[in-house]
Amino acid sequence: MIFEELNKIERQPNGAPVAAEDLLQLPVFKDVSPQFLKKNANATVWRHFKRGEIVCREGEFGSTAFYILEGTASVQLASPIAHVKAQGGPGGFFGRLTSKLTSRLAARQEDRREEEADRRSIPIDAPVDLAYDHPVAELGPGELFGEMTCMNYYPRSATVRAETDCTMLEMLRNVLDVLQKSKPFRAQLDQTYRRRALDSHLRNVSIFRGLTQDFIDHLRERVELLRFTPGQVICKQGEPADSFYLVRLGFVKISEAYPGGELVLAYLSRGDYFGEIGLLGGGGRTATCTALDHVELVRISAEDFLAMVEKFPGVRLGLENAARERQAANQERLRMVRSVPLERFLSQGLMEAQSLLVLDLDKCTRCDACVTACADSHDGVTRLVREGLRFENFLVATSCRQCRDPLCMVGCPVGAIRRRNSLEVIIEDWCVGCGLCAKNCPYGNINLHSFTAQAEDHENPGHKKAVVQKKATTCDLCTEQAEPSCVYACPHDAAHRVEPREFFSETLGQRAGTLKKR
């Protein structure tokens, strides 16, 4: 037991509120006002878990965080670490004859996808990260988990199971929010982070893998841990660059201003970093970074950052390459945006799209052949719905638009959804199937695909049982095929996959465009 003070507290049954007097006995609550704790008497409750009992499951929605007082708990991902792979199609004579694609789960070792993250660990809502190859870790007394769920109402990122008999405090957001402002509590959390997660966070970034342990130990004590509230600007485009940041918690929106608007370049989540372009270029910030929710960052000062890149030329080279790639991708996106007629596109959100499935309603007989073909091509799970926005006589069907502001990426509890440089969405192997991305997508373009998988049977430890797991999928444009199934199967020449700006340019009267089908 690390809390001697626990001996002075009389344990109450499971679910009973923790008395303010008892909470104040604990060092982490020392700075919290007794009046606040009394007013919020029911906001913190006792939780007792027997060995093997599940505390929370990945993908579940919740609103509380857990603070471990006694015992140890394991934190793990029960979902298979794999992505949905469509197969079939053009292989062999008969393969070429059919567009029937079967979907199955494939891990990184088996099916390496272009621009897939090369992370070695998976970010979760706990003071530790999980190894990609063996996603299990241990949590002990004094550790907090479920912060993101509690503060931002994101789904649980992992399954937590009591490894020994455990006693925990389960708290609501108002208590956690006050605790976050308490110096002893912050100090303890920060210390835990520096001790357990900073190392893996830094090493998760491929270009930092060359850092020596000595240097990481040096950084461990030098870095600053910062907190930002939702909407707070972390740094502004054009400001002098003075720090490098690593995201510890929450989501950061990276955006760039352009005449008449703002282009979201990326949403960064736990384990991602930013600020290197300004530091390496010796100039100002090239983008504005804003906290989307409760964000916690690790700040490495310009001095330490420059010392690091000087001491480790490999790191410098990697950072420079990464910065160049990011800048080139950003420039390309901005170039595309600047050349677009905005008004009417923006009014219907079409500006956001990179690729659209449009149905010419003057030709479409509403036969649903496109939907049937999509379902038949993807194990009976259609990835498009013949409903959506209308633009002139075109229906922009519900199918992934590869948006420039990909709201689907906000809130993923394990940071599994992101996009490639081409802006196309990629769902990483460690998707836990919580469905938040599907819920967030304003166009309903993300679906959950069910699979039967073998998972640990928590009722019978050491045994496995078949369970239905879900993985998020988006329209993959039937990349295995020469042409998307929905377009191929439309008998009325009404369905087209198009690059929207070009496709609508004629309608908008901006320039005579030739219909470019994808």
Binding site: L361, D362, K363, R366, A373, S377, N393, P491, H492
Partner: protein
């Protein structure tokens, strides 16, 4: 399918086949009237070609059943279906030597005429109706969802009505208790025209929107009914009336969508079974003619 410029090649090819067939028929037709044309070499060529085109046209149905098969784009099949299907008629007429025949031949000829006519009718509908539907039904939904949307509209209307009447009841109670009430409160008698309208007109319309002769089924009549109603009830209820009017409009659009959908696809109920019968009996006719 819209018949537009993209059909040019098919139209030209079909016209060429038709012209060539007519030329051959004119040149090689056996003059004696007693000899059936179908039994001659040219007649057999016309018959075989016509039957082959029928089979190709019928295969569109099979093609649609397996959308995952990459055996040509569905629109190519559809174009082939339209033009080759249409060509069947002159080819079979040439095959028959412009005779209607009797027995099975007469049945076949009748079936062919009906199938081609229904196909032309269907093609014309599918050429025009999508534009009508796009223009007229701006609140279009997925066809299978229509009943669900209707149920939601009914529920929404009931809710609006209940809220409005609950507020008037509250206002009446307050008035009974001697309270002056709020400025927007509506007395029960003031809301009576709306209650009567809802119970006698609106609810029956939403319950059975397809019923003929209903005033609310007609946009103009509906508009005038709501205009009149607004003059009878206090302004506090006008927002509710606006919402109810929107519900009626959406309901009319759903009815219109159902009707247009029926037009778009209803003719297939005749076209498909008769086509299948034609293929089947055509095969019987071919076997019998060749064997006997």
């Amino acid at each position: 399918m819209r018949i537009d410029n993209t059909h040019k090649n098919w139209a030209i090819a079909s016209l060429l086949i038709f012209g060539l067939s007519m030329l051959l028929y004119g040149i090689y037709r056996v003059p004696p009237s007693g000899v059936p044309m179908g039994g001659t070499a040219l007649g057999l060529v016309f018959g075989s070609l016509g039957f082959a085109f029928m089979i190709f046209a019928a295969l569109l149905g099979a093609r649609k059943k397996v959308p995952v098969w990459r055996v040509g784009r569905a629109q190519t099949w559809m174009r082939g279906h339209l033009w080759l299907g249409l060509l069947c008629l002159p080819l079979i007429v040439f095959h028959s030597g412009f005779r209607y025949g009797h027995g099975l031949s007469a049945v076949l000829m009748t079936l062919l005429i009906v199938v081609v006519a229904s196909g032309v009718f269907g093609a014309a509908l599918q050429h025009y109706m999508p534009r009508v539907m796009t223009r007229e039904v701006t609140m279009e939904t997925i066809y299978e969802e229509i009943e669900h949307v209707r149920a939601q509209l009914r529920e929404e209307a009931e809710e609006l009505f209940t809220q409005a009447t609950a507020e008037t009841a509250k206002a009446a109670a307050a008035a009974g208790a001697g309270s002056t009430g709020t400025s927007v409160a509506v007395r029960e008698d003031e809301a009576a025209p709306m209650r009567n309208f809802f119970e006698q007109e609106l609810r029956p319309f939403l319950d059975n929107p397809g019923a003929r002769g209903h005033a609310l089924a007609d946009q103009a009549q509906s508009r005038s009914a709501f205009v009149q109603l607004r003059t009878l009830v206090p302004p506090a209820l006008h927002t509710t009336l606006d919402d109810l009017e929107s519900i009626c409009e959406e309901e009319r659009q759903l009815t219109m969508q159902s009707r247009l959908h029926l037009w778009l696809h209803g003719w297939l109920l005749l076209h498909i079974p008769l086509s299948l019968a034609l293929i089947l009996l055509g095969a019987v006719h071919a076997v019998m003619a060749l064997r006997f």
